[in-house]
Each structure stands twice: as C-alpha cells, then as structure tokens.
Symmetry: C2
C-alpha cells in the first residue's frame, strides 16, 4: 500500500516539474489545475506550494529552463566552420534537440500568452537570442558571398518556423528516422538560401 502521510521524496520537486510539463503540453496551462498536477505526482494540492510559489512560476521556470538549455547547447554546436557548415549544424541541432523535447517545445511556443508580462519579457528575450544565432550565420554567409538571402531577419524566422513545424507531425515510431528528417530539411534549407 502506498503511504498517505509523511515525506516520500527527495525528488518530489522534479516530479512536480515533470508532471506539470506533461500536463501543460497535453492540455494547456490554463486547462490544467494544481489538483491535477498533484494527483499525477501522488500528493495533495497543498504540497505543491512547498516547491513553487504559484502556478505561474511553475510555467515560467519550465520555459526558462528550456530556453537556457537550448541556447547553451546551440552555442556549442555552431561556433566553428564556414557559414555553410554552421548553417548545417544549426539545422541539425535544432531538429535533433527538438525531437527529444516535444513537450518543452510545445509549451515554449503555445504558452507565451499565459506568462505574466515580466515573465513574457524574459522568455521573449531568450527567444530572440536564439533567432540571433541563426541570423548571424546567415549574415556571415552573405559576407562570405555563399548565401543568397535578400532579408536575413525574415529568412531566419522562416527557417525556424519551418524546422519547428516538424514537432507537429514527427513521431519516433514514424516512417522517417531522425537523420532522414534532418537530411530532408537540410536540403530544403540549403536550397532556399541558395547553396
């Protein structure tokens, strides 16, 4: 029988975050109650407040962590090589990183409007920093004379939207393997910038 009293976790904090992540991605932040999250974890609703000041902060900290990890992992991946190599690495990075984090991506793109104004500003700044990574690569390619990109800002958004769209249909047990997906999208990206 499960205990109904007392501390049963050094790991309740992470389990709350995992449950919130899953439920927010599945039903949306506004549609998920603190009681649902508590039930998923196996505690009472009041216990959640030992780990988060409120529901809003739970959402924000999930998004913040995701963006921080995204930016850090990305920077490592695209710092070396010529513009074409860096663009290829960016595309492959974006796809690979996002495939393993479907829930995080979904929340990051769908729940922006449920952030408080201050929290929105923080996340938006990080999102722009990520866009800037790609824009810098496109601009570098222009300088090198290897890309044909009339408007790097718009092209940046177009490429990221195209790549992120993968999350709406990709399934691990689907017909295409991750390398196949990466290859297909790299070829589209490559051609669209004139390489």
């Amino acid at each position: 029988m499960a205990r109904t009293q007392g501390s049963h976790s050094e790991i309740t904090g992470p389990r709350i975050r995992a449950a919130a992540l899953k439920l927010f991605a599945e039903h949306g932040y506004a549609a998920v109650s603190m009681r649902q999250i508590a039930r998923e974890v196996g505690v009472q609703a009041g216990a959640l407040y030992n780990y988060t000041p409120d529901k809003q902060d739970l959402l924000f900290s999930l998004m913040k962590q995701h963006m921080d990890e995204l930016l850090e992992a990305c920077a490592d991946r695209v710092k070396d090589g010529d513009a074409t190599t860096r663009l290829h690495n960016f595309v492959d990075f974006h796809i690979t990183f996002h495939m393993g984090r479907a829930d995080e991506i979904f929340i990051a793109y769908m729940e922006l409007r449920n952030l408080s104004p201050e929290n929105f500003h923080t996340i938006e700044t990080l999102r722009r920093a990520y866009e800037d990574v790609l824009e810098a690569i496109l601009t570098a390619g222009l300088v090198e004379g290897v890309f044909d990109v009339p408007n790097p800002k718009v092209t940046t958004r177009a490429i990221i939207a195209m790549l992120t769209g993968i999350t709406t249909w990709y399934r691990p047990d689907g017909a295409l393997s991750p390398p196949e997906v990466s290859d297909l999208y790299w070829n589209m990206t490559r051609k669209s910038v004139g390489v």
Copy 2:
C-alpha cells in the same frame, strides 16, 4: 444611457462570435470565461446561450467556418496553370489570406487540443484537405519534371509551417508590405523546391 433590458440586437449573434474570436486568440480558449465574452458584447452571461449551446460549440463553429472559407477560397486560386504557377498562387494565397485573419489562424493552430474528439476529427480532416491541395501541386510539378522534391508530404508540411509562421511576426504597420512579404517567401519556396 444604454438600455439594460430588452432586445438590443438583430446582430448579437455575430457580435458574440467576434468577441469570442478576439478573446480566444488573445488569451486562449481555456483562459476565457463565458462571462468575459458576455462583458465584451455587453450582455449578461446567460444571454450567450440563446446563440450557442455551449462554449465548446462556440470554439468549434469559429474553427469550422474558418476552415471552410480557407478551402473554398484556396480552390479558386490554384486550379489553373502549370505547377510552378499554381505553387506561386498557393504561396501568395496562403500569405494574403492569413494576413487578414490573424485571430482565426491563431485559434486554428493553437486550440486544436481544446476540441472535443468528434470536433477535432472534423477540423483535422479539413486541415488535411488543405495540405492535400499543396501536396497535389508538388506532385504535379514532379510529374512535369520541374520540381526537385524528394518527399512531397514532408515538403508540404515544411512549406505550410514556414508560411504560417509569418503570422507570428507580421504587423500591418511593420516594415514590409504584404506584396514584399509574399515575394520574399515565394523566392524561398521556389528555391527550396528547385525552381
């Protein structure tokens, strides 16, 4: 003084739909209450139920109408010409149509998970029909030998995701005019399919 009693509208129905559209797009279906919608319209919450059986049906009918209009307008626009012409027309149609309907698009893409299973199935079928229009154009271009598209299904999704992403940044008072945006995206699309 505004009347507080009696019928003040042959047009309350459309106003309710307009208010719901705006509020759902702004805050999300789950975060918007019937009371908020009523306040926006200037009636009491109970009065809404003269026009919709429930909140779910309000969401569904907005999405259904949008998809019906999308499919009808699209069909007219891409039926004639060679594959390249039809692709160009599709891209321009998608961009132009979506620019004037930011709220509808937002809801159509964000609120799928808040539909009941039956309603979801209906909308999903319409969404696939729209994808099929583009996929048929890509396949026609392959047959004509003018497109280089290894995987028409994936390319279809990639192009639609790229085009739809415009709605996240385009503003009527921004730096780019609709024709400029259309031109930029047409060139990316064109190159990505090898034309």
